[in-house]
Subunit: 308 residues, 2 copies
């Protein structure tokens, strides 16, 4: 280990941590170095892994004002008026509400939203709700020449709107769900890529739904192969939607590392992710495999948010 | 200009060149440097731009033995037995013949083909038919911190099978057409991404055809936005299939550079690309705009193939 602690917001075992910090450092120092830098691929889930996802996926709040015909963003009251959307439901609304917009216009609108809208209960802009220990992990992996990708069930262009600013991850390293787009040569001086297809709720396949890539569960390995063409050696996630990404990455102990962020800190964030609330097949599997780390937010993290 | 010539296979104006060499160097030295390295995006078409595409797209030869039930690859005689396939036809056959294969298996098979099968008339493996002046251009742009992508109408995974070896371009920087794939957790230790859908010739949309991204013409800007999320500042291509990529890149003289490779050398390669044979809307447009360079293979290139 370096003399300087590369993960200062992570507690070591002697400080009450679960040993996750040591296991990560061991992997980076002793396993990752066996791979050439160009093959040190790591994929991070976004919602619930790099930033919060409760009470709802943040992308849903970007849709709510439009869904509810609000003149002004009023997230707290909105919450009481609508049922939570599924991942697919969010992408469908996303497609509907920004139809005809160029991807540049969409990204600009999402960026404004993320940096200027307060979370309904945590009283800070969404952009302030990234996790400090994960930001340190990104920096540590970057310093060790990992190629860092986000692989999110959320919208690709939504995540791109803040990935550079929040995580220092450029748009080309963001894999996510998408709506159907087309090139429109009449938009701007060189033409633009425009969000074009109205989502049809009852359609039987993704394209007819107005969806392109559906990048959750089985869609995550598909998105990774499509975008990168290499298999990750490390994957970080938190939910049942990450199981297939974890499996795709897992080449056995000593060859790859799976990291699951367990949301077990109701005081500082939210408590929901230890298999006690709803299905979490990733958590279930991690209980049985030593090289699938379960990171306890309560015990492993000194600090939760970058804005703390 | 550097004292060492960065493009030794390109002829300067005083050596009989058209001035393309000087225009490219001027752009790299005086325009590209205004952009941060992460925004110095350049996209290269592959077929007819980085390697030959005649008498047929090389990917078609990868399909021919299967199409014709040949026991042994016999390309010359195959040519006489079938009509050329369209871009879409090639992707459809590609989907059919490799259905059920993992993407790793497909890439390995394509790599073996490209490096071990001779071109029907040029008497060398396909891998030897990359263009030396373009390889030098890739190296020159790389040395100037360009982010280099291939944006091909051909198959993404087909091009990935040789892009690293032939061009030093890694798989994550290859944008191309694709077939539908799914994650199959039963394949190998961590599961694999498998080519799954049988192409239906008369289907009305891409997904039902068994095609994912169709990365030609209007599909090129769509593929670029999806994969990179940034607009190129330079694009290199040769055919009508590159027009939309060129338009999407073109932000006016002094801000971007369009380079069209004109196949006008029937003695050393093939002569077909100057608008005299079939439609070439890119060539037509390049005639009217000074910042759309037309590179003459006959006059601008000292050497054609890397294997010459």
């Amino acid at each position: 280990m370096n003399m300087t602690d590369p993960l200062p917001s992570w507690k070591s075992s002697t400080e009450g941590g679960t040993g996750s910090k040591e296991a990560i450092i061991n992997f980076v120092e002793n396993v990752a170095s066996k791979y050439n830098p160009e093959d040190r691929i790591v994929t991070f889930d976004n919602d619930g892994t790099l930033w919060s996802e409760r009470p709802r996926y943040f992308q849903e709040y970007f849709m709510l004002p439009a869904l509810l015909n609000l003149d002004k963003i009023s997230l707290q009251s909105s919450l009481e008026k609508s049922a939570p959307l599924t991942r697919e439901g969010i992408m469908r609304e996303d497609g509907k509400h920004y139809i005809g917009k160029t991807t540049e216009e969409y990204v600009a609108a999402a960026n404004t939203f993320v940096y200027n809208t307060n979370h309904p209960t945590l009283d800070r802009p969404f952009s302030d709700l990234t996790y400090q220990p994960l930001i340190e992990l990104l920096d540590y992996l970057r310093a060790n020449e990992f190629q860092i990708y986000i692989c999110s069930g959320g919208g690709r262009d939504f995540v791109r709107s803040f990935s550079q600013g929040a995580y220092d991850i450029p748009p080309e390293n963001v894999i996510g769900s998408s709506v159907v787009t087309e090139y429109d040569k009449t938009q701007g001086s060189g033409g633009s890529v425009v969000r074009t297809k109205v989502a049809e709720t009852d359609a039987s396949d993704q394209a007819d739904k107005g969806l392109g890539q559906y990048n959750d569960k089985e869609g995550k390995p598909v998105g990774i192969q499509r975008q990168i063409g290499k298999r990750p050696i490390m994957a970080v996630g938190n939910s049942t939607g990450d199981l297939q990404m974890f499996d795709y990455t897992d080449q056995g102990a000593g060859n790859s590392l799976i990291v699951l962020i367990n949301h077990d800190d109701g005081d500082r964030e939210f408590k929901y992710n230890d298999g006690t609330e709803g299905e979490n097949l990733s958590w279930d599997k991690a209980q049985t495999l030593e090289h699938w780390l379960v990171v306890s937010m309560a015990n492993d993290f000194n600090t939760i948010f970058t804005s703390d």
